[in-house]
Subunit: 448 residues, 2 copies
């Protein structure tokens, strides 16, 4: 007796950022079982994470439950876990759940969309003192550091200590660094004045450093110039051609043509460069794929790994034609991969190679002011750029959910001076300054 | 040569909950320097904290920066710190900032509004396994536990383990316990179904325990009956006359007339009883004031400590005429204290003793259903009670701020099935289940 049972094609998608989300989404209706594996319970709307860090949006407004995104996609399931390894020969992904529960996911097709982490260019010790701004954890931590710094300054009596608390250094003047510098300046100049009695929040120093010769080095020079001018007007100190050589608990050391300088600053943020997670190295070693300097995996024109048509790499982890690690590359790449797999499953011919359609790029410098480099040499800046930013980002927010809420927040933050999401938990306040702790409150909830 | 410089009267308010907030507020325009000391940077709108724990509201929607509240009150300053001790003779409060920076605040008048913590009736070991729900820390932690429990259940293959993750026990059937049980039931029955492929979220057990003979024991019996009926309809298991005798990592043991039972449950919440912080004990010892069983300080008719007209105690820390620890007692008591101090400073006669005006009390059982005990024997339940609840709570939210946002959230949560604030950070997910950890992700932000 012979039984033939059709075994469904299994697609495992590692990561539910833009790339993984759009890849899995494009498989809707495909004859496949899709498993989306993500390390947290949420998809992060990365371009707005800095607004959580600066008190404009709530975590829930930039972090959508992954399950909610795939609720209506019957062929997709969502699992919480970190992909720790891939058995390329046996076609199995190993993952661990929070708490260490290990499990395995066999696949027929693998989509690696695990994203990239912050790179400290070999100085990983900097991370403790200057966290990055990629995840929701980063944003919530940075928010606590920014708003707590002003609180601590108010309590200090030594003017040097006050100044250390009121100095904010942002390393890296890409879009995130520029947006963050502008936002911290607005917090210091617009949100907090009037709330303090001992310090003047507007006296805060916001310092933006970059080793390149201009801010927004990936943008057109005129956009860089506009952004820098606007930043200076906001009171941000901009140092370009400044290479950071040391970061410790109380300051930053950087080199410029003019020599080496140290800045005393208790709050530092790092937004300079990306590094692939070690999973990428393991996949590269197992498949023989090449990686670039940042450890990203080089892919074929159809975004597969050479010699492994069943493995796709997409998003920030993908290295291809010098494409930047931005949302649009991840969104378009993810969609392409999903469609390619669907086409294969339907037995159709291979499609055309992946082609990135440049829709332009934008960075907000302050409220009512952004720079936008658009295709065809078009450039917008100031209010026009900002309105375009508002429109595009609002349109791309996951539908139906917090769009109304976000709009309300933006109205409050842009028209008024308020930042609705400033609450720092006790847990954060204590861990923030723990090295100094000499006594602990007696009914402190975080210490239970 | 003689110089006479008028020294301004110094009022120190310990705590910026409802009592402290309204006391300091009533001192607006008084000839005094008011210092509001708070352990966090925010005032918590306590009656809505459970909505943060269950993903409806964002932290910023129930936590207003204390500084923002006093921005326009020129005679008030806000300092971040824990009051650790009071030198009653020398009239000095000692506080520590996060990180251990100690400082002292001399006072002429002291308002102690430090609130109360959760009481475990001598079993403080329960706290780790069954946190309370009083602070923003509590809410964010509980939210992570609730939503992570379903995620973990989805990953388990052992049916008993699945059931442990899907059993939620709430100890204490006061308003917070009832509201929480109702909300978790709504999460299980309305929010999550459709999002899971392996488990059925609607199969979750939500168990509400109380040692009293009915839920909402402080309400009128008919309200209790209505609430219990509605809870059962939502699928909540209600056990009254059930005394919890043990809580550990994986379960709860309780005694009823019928004997002793153990429930296997990985998520437990404690909302049964309050305890005064140790500061209260120190103040009582130094002033000779009596305390009640919970450690709350007994006060005179004008809310001062006997023999110490310069020390007021108000809010949850105050023991007077059996008044309950609810927002209205704190709000009215705080206002009374502020006005009393202002009157004294103006050289006017002492006013009348504090009289609490009972405005009634309300608890939400589920969306569209609440019970309200109003003055004069009036009772509302069901939709009418719920509409009253909505109106009153919205009206009491700090003005101008997140009221629009909150209304948007409520609309989303009440009319739809969604809970907008469900994101669990990696840090929380890891700490949540840390005892089990056997491996750690390699580029995990929380581990930096």
């Amino acid at each position: 007796m012979e039984m033939t049972e059709k075994v469904q094609h299994r697609v495992v998608v590692i990561g539910a950022g833009f790339a993984g989300r759009y890849a899995a989404r494009a498989l809707r209706g495909a004859d496949a079982h899709v498993t989306v594996l993500n390390a947290t319970n949420h998809h992060v709307f990365a371009p707005l994470v800095y607004q959580v860090a600066t008190g404009v949006l709530s975590p829930g407004e930039v972090a959508t439950p992954v399950r909610e995104l795939f609720r209506r996609q019957d062929n997709a399931e969502v699992l919480l876990g970190w992909a720790t390894d891939v058995d390329v020969e046996g076609r199995v992904v190993t993952a661990i759940a929070p708490g260490g529960l290990p499990y395995q996911l066999p696949y027929d097709t693998l989509v690696v969309a695990a994203g990239a982490a912050q790179s400290y260019f070999g100085n990983d010790g900097f991370a403790e003192h200057a966290p990055g701004l990629k995840t929701l954890d980063d944003a919530v931590e940075l928010r606590a550091r920014i708003f707590s710094a002003f609180e601590m300054a108010e309590l200090e009596t030594d003017p040097a200590a006050v100044q250390r608390w009121l100095t904010f250094v942002i390393v890296g003047a890409g879009p995130t660094g520029v947006e963050l510098a502008g936002q911290i300046a607005e917090i210091a100049h617009r949100t907090l004045p009037g709330e303090y009695r001992r310090i003047d929040p507007a006296g805060a120093r916001i310092v933006l450093l970059d080793a390149a010769d201009r801010v927004l080095p990936a943008y057109r020079p005129r956009s860089s110039a506009k952004a820098e001018k606007r930043l200076r007007k906001l009171g941000v100190e901009v140092h370009v051609g400044a290479k950071v050589v040391d970061v410790d608990a109380t300051g930053v050391v950087f080199e410029t043509g003019a020599g080496t300088r140290r800045l005393e600053a208790l709050t530092k943020v790092w937004s300079a460069g990306v590094a692939a997670p070690s999973l990428a190295g393991r996949i590269a070693a197992a498949t023989g794929a090449e990686t670039d300097r940042a450890g990203r995996i080089k892919v074929e024109p159809d975004l597969t790994v050479a010699g492994h048509p069943e493995i796709f790499v997409v998003g920030d982890l993908m290295s291809r034609d010098g494409l930047p690690g931005v949302a649009q590359v991840a969104i378009q790449g993810g969609g392409y991969v999903g469609r390619t797999v669907k086409r294969r499953l339907a037995g159709r011919q291979a499609g055309r190679p992946f082609r990135y359609l440049d829709k332009g790029t934008m960075a907000v410098v302050s409220r009512f002011s952004a720079v936008a480099d658009l295709p065809g040499g078009l450039r917008l800046s100031g209010l026009a750029g900002w309105l375009l930013w508002l429109l595009v980002h609002w349109a791309y927010l996951p539908k139906g959910r917090n769009r109304v809420g976000s709009l309300a927040r933006w109205t409050v933050a842009f028209l008024g001076r308020r930042r609705p999401e400033r609450a720092v938990t006790s847990h954060q306040a204590l861990s923030r300054t723990a090295p100094r702790a000499s006594a602990e409150p007696d009914h402190e909830p975080a210490l239970r």
